[in-house]
Symmetry: C2
Subunit: 199 residues, 2 copies
């Protein structure tokens, strides 16, 4: 495969030479690689790399994809803002969850559409209540890291029955939010998988 990738089009004879094999020894292997679509063969021209991403490559892709390849920009709010302002921010950014940070930019909480809906049907004054009063607090927040596999992040979303995961970076004073992974992220990856492999 490597020889053909670098030198194609190349004849079976030439490939055999480079591998110190006879043409007939090599023939079945080339036949299988051609049938499987890894190589293309043209009479009197030789073999060339088809460029087709193969089925096997899909599982490679799934294994290799990391959180950092798909994460989106996190929406971050300060913990002292009001619940009302948080709801406005949610609509403005059109996201399902926001991450709450303290003055040093360290993750302290998460608020979701569901949390905000629950509080807004209570009889509270949403303008007077700070968001940190009703957020889900650390350490009850499930996080992931840039280098985690996207698969493990998807598994966390399902296992914990949550809508989003903050992607965090460890700092001396706590966790900094650097990204966001949601079920939208995973849906995008599912489509990318099909797209990259011409399904």
């Amino acid at each position: 495969m490597d020889i053909v990738k670098e030198n194609g089009p190349i004849t079976g004879e030439q490939i055999a030479d480079r591998l110190h094999l006879t043409r007939s020894t090599l023939r079945p292997d080339l036949a299988i690689l051609t049938m499987a679509g890894y190589l293309d063969a043209r009479p009197r021209v030789g073999y060339f790399y088809s460029g087709k991403k193969t089925g096997q490559a899909i599982s490679d892709t799934m294994t290799k994809w990391k959180v950092k390849d798909f994460q989106s920009v996190p929406v971050v709010i300060q913990e002292h803002i009001s619940v009302y302002d948080a709801i406005c921010q949610l609509f403005l950014e059109d996201v399902g969850s926001m991450f709450v940070v303290n003055k040093s930019g360290i993750l302290t909480g998460v608020v979701s559409r569901k949390d905000l809906l629950r509080i807004s049907i209570g009889n509270q004054d949403l303008n007077k209540m700070p968001v940190h009063m009703m957020m889900t607090r650390m350490p009850n927040i499930t996080v992931c890291h840039k280098e985690d596999s996207l698969l493990s992040a998807a598994q966390l979303l399902m296992d914990r029955q949550i809508d989003s995961l903050p992607v965090v970076k460890r700092r001396d004073d706590g966790l900094e939010v650097v990204g966001r992974v949601t079920k939208t992220t995973i849906t995008r990856a599912f489509l990318a998988l099909a797209d990259e492999h011409d399904i």
Copy 2:
């Protein structure tokens, strides 16, 4: 592959016999199938089918999966119930969207967490407002069908930027809701893909 599947463990000699080939002609093919993990070989026992689903099978799986293979149970509400009751139902069922039907059970609207949050921060009396006053109405609802590919449903969720799709069945008087596809559904499929193929 078929011979080994049906008769394994079977020796290379026996496979060659059945194909009217010599053992040496067959050797490279068996070597490749073994290296690729399609077949397992055990000395003095023979070849047997590894049972491993191959990479190629992943794209087959993705192509074959239909909405009906993954859809979940829809949460359906009547259009005359109050917004307040709709919100309670949403929390009770713990879903992101609900489908609204008329007395004949025909789809007339959709309400999402986002819609309900928007209405609940207004100054309306949620107990007095019927849900049909604020729902997204037909024909502005994107739907899918049981036999659609899961990929096309995922594409719709992304293209229309929506959280859920009702799976519908056509009736003389309109569309009946028979299922639900969400980004959670697609995340589940993404994980099932990896799981089924031992990634």
